[in-house]
Symmetry: C2
C-alpha cells in the first residue's frame, strides 16, 4: 500500500533530520533506511508529502525538512514514547531519592530533566490551590506582629507577616492556632474561605479585630496567591541549537521563558496524566513559535499537583524526550507521595 510507505518516508525524514540537523534528500533516505524502492519513487512520495504540507524545502534543490504539521503527525501516529533504559531509571531513582525537603526535590528534578533531555527543563512547584492544608502556624514576633506559616500536604511552606490593629497575647495566639487548625487542617485550600468564614464570630469581641486581620492574610495566602512558582534549568542547552533551529535568534525564546506566567499557562494545558506535546506554531505565545513544549502533570495518583516538562527546538527527539518527561514525572510523584 502506497499510503503506508509515504508515512514510512515521513518517519524516516523526521528521524534523519533530527539526528543530522540537515535537510534530507531522497538518495540519503534510501541509503539509511531499508525502504526497498529507488530514490525516484521516494521523490514522488516526497512531492506528495510536501503537497499535503508535512514537509518543506528550505530552498529549491535542497532536501526536505519536516513542518510543524509533519512533526505533529509523527508524534501522534508514527512514533511511540520511548521508555528509558534500566540504567537510566536507576540513575533517576538514585538522584531523586537522595532529596531532602520539597525545595531539594524540585531542584534536583529540574536539573535531572535538563540533563536527561538536553533541553530547557521547567518544573512548576506543587500548586497551592490543588493541595490540602496540613498545618497552620501562628508565630508571635512582637506584641502587634504575627507571622503566618502555612504548610501544605505537598510539603510546601508559605509565610506572611501580619501587622495587627491591636495587641495580642501569646495564649490567644495559641487558642487561635488551635481553632484555625481544627477547621481547615486536612481540607483542600480551596475550601478554606467557607470553613473559616464564621471564625471571627466565635471568638471574644476584644480580639476580634486581630482575628479578622489574621484571617484576611490567611485567606490571601491560601487563595489569592496565584503567583505559582517555577524553576528552570538547562537554558545553556538552547545555545547548542543551530541557526537552523531558531532562525532569528534564541532571544525571543529566552524572553518567553522568563515570563513565568505564560509558561505556567502553557504547561497547565498538559492533560494532567498524559504527556502533552505542543509544536512550534501550535504554541499560542509568539516567542515560542520556533519551539516545542513537552509537558505532563505530576503528583500522587489521581490528584496531580502541578506540571513539569521541557522546552526545546521543534527539531527534537520526541519519543526520547517524552519518555524522559514521563519517567521523571512518575518518579517525582512517587517521591512526593512517600514523603508527603
Amino acid at each position: 500500500m502506497v499510503e503506508d510507505r509515504k508515512l514510512d518516508v515521513l518517519r524516516a525524514i523526521v528521524e534523519d533530520y533530527v539526528s543530522t540537523n540537515e535537510p534530507v534528500g531522497s538518495k540519503a533516505l534510501v541509503e539509511r533506511h531499508r525502504l526497498g524502492v529507488s530514490p525516484a519513487t521516494i521523490r514522488n512520495d516526497m512531492a506528495a508529502l510536501e503537497e499535503e504540507g508535512y514537509i518543506t524545502q528550505p530552498h529549491t534543490s535542497a532536501g526536505r525538512v519536516p513542518t510543524d504539521k509533519g512533526y505533529r503527525l509523527f508524534v501522534d501516529k508514527l512514533s511511540s514514547v520511548k521508555p528509558l533504559s534500566a540504567p537510566e531509571r536507576r540513575a533517576i531513582e538514585g538522584f531523586l531519592g537522595g532529596a531532602v525537603g520539597l525545595d531539594d526535590v524540585v531542584n534536583r528534578t529540574v536539573r535531572l530533566l535538563a540533563q536527561l533531555t538536553r533541553q530547557v527543563a521547567v518544573v512548576q512547584y506543587p500548586s497551592l490551590s490543588r493541595s490540602a492544608v496540613r498545618h497552620l502556624e501562628l508565630v508571635g514576633l512582637s506584641e502587634t506582629r504575627v507571622m503566618v506559616v502555612l504548610i501544605t500536604d505537598s510539603g510546601r511552606v508559605e509565610q506572611r507577616i501580619v501587622e495587627l490593629p491591636g495587641v495580642v497575647a501569646e495564649e490567644d495566639l495559641g487558642e487561635l492556632r488551635a481553632r484555625f487548625n481544627a477547621r481547615i487542617s486536612g481540607h483542600p485550600l480551596a475550601d478554606a474561605p467557607m470553613l473559616l468564614a464564621a471564625l471571627p464570630d466565635a471568638v471574644a469581641p476584644e480580639i476580634r479585630p486581630n482575628v479578622t486581620a489574621i484571617l484576611a492574610t490567611v485567606l490571601e495566602t491560601l487563595v489569592e496567591h496565584v503567583d505559582e512558582r517555577v524553576v528552570m534549568a538547562g537554558t545553556a542547552n538552547l545555545a547548542r541549537s543551530t541557526a537552523l533551529d531558531f532562525p532569528g535568534s534564541i532571544h525571543p525564546v529566552l524572553e518567553a521563558l522568563e515570563e513565568h506566567v505564560v509558561l505556567l499557562r502553557l504547561f497547565g494545558e498538559s492533560g494532567d496524566r498524559d504527556v502533552h506535546v505542543s509544536i512550534g506554531g501550535e504554541n499560542p505565545h509568539e516567542g515560542l513559535h520556533t519551539a516545542s513544549i513537552v509537558s505532563t502533570g505530576y503528583g500522587t495518583e489521581g490528584t496531580p499537583f502541578a506540571s513539569l516538562g521541557i522546552v526545546g527546538p521543534t527539531r527534537m527527539d520526541y519519543p526520547g524526550t517524552m519518555g524522559a518527561v514521563r519517567a521523571v514525572a512518575r518518579y517525582v510523584g512517587q517521591i512526593l507521595a512517600e514523603s508527603g
Copy 2:
C-alpha cells in the same frame, strides 16, 4: 600634561566603544570628544596605551578596543558610580515596596535589577549562616513523623521531615518546641550547635532517642545547609549581545550561570558593603572570561545578609550598572529591615 590626556583618551575609547559597539579610531575620537588635539596626536597616545596593554586592535588597521586591563583602569580611576535619577529611584521604591513576603521581595528585586541594567541579574537569598533564629516550630505529622520548620530573622523559612525511632506524644512535642526556642531563639544560627549540645541530657530518657533524631535534623538544617539559593532573571539580555561581546558563543556563559555554587562564590567575594567589579579574565571561572560581574552585599546596616549583582559582557556601562546595583541593594536592605 601628557599622561592626563592619555587617560582622557582611554576614557573616551571606553565610552565610545561601550555605546557604539565598534572599534574606535583616532578620527572618530577627536570628532566626538573635545580633546583639542589632532588625530595624529591621538594616534601616538593610542600607540602608548596599546603598548601598556590598556587597549588592543582586533586586527591591523582597525580601531582600538579596551582590554580587560583597560576596563579595570576605567572603573578604578576614570569613572564614578552614576547615581540613579529621581524617577528611577521612585520606580524602584514603588516596585519593591509592594512586595509581600521574602520570596516576593527576592523575585521582584531580581527582575527589577535585570530590567534596570539590561543584564543578567542574580540575587542570593538571605544567607542562613549569617542570620539569627527567630522561631523553631515542630509539627507532628503522625506518631513517628515530625516536620521541623525553621524561621530566621531575615524571613526565610526552611523545613525538614524527620522519621523518629519511636512514638512521640503531642505534649512532648510542645515541651520540646519550648525548650528549643528557649535556647536558640534570637541567637545566630552558627551558635546553635553549642547551645543545643546538652539538650538530649535535659529530657526524660524515654524520649531521648526521638530528641536526638530531631536535634540531628535541626542541626543539619541550621548549619550544614550550605546549599544557598539564588534566583536569576534577564538571561534573555545575553542574547542581545553581539558576536563581538562573546567571541565563541554565549553557551559557556549560560553554563557558568547554571552552576549556582560557582556564582555564589564569585558573588560572595563582593566586599560586603561596596560595589565590587570583576572584569573578564580576572574571573576565576573559565566560562566567564568574556564576562564581567558587578556585585555587592545587601542587608540591614552593619550585617550584610547576602549578595546581589549582575553578569554581563565586559563591554558594559560600568558607572550606570554600578549605580543601579548599589541603589537596588540599598533599597532591598531597607525593605528587609522594615519587614524583618
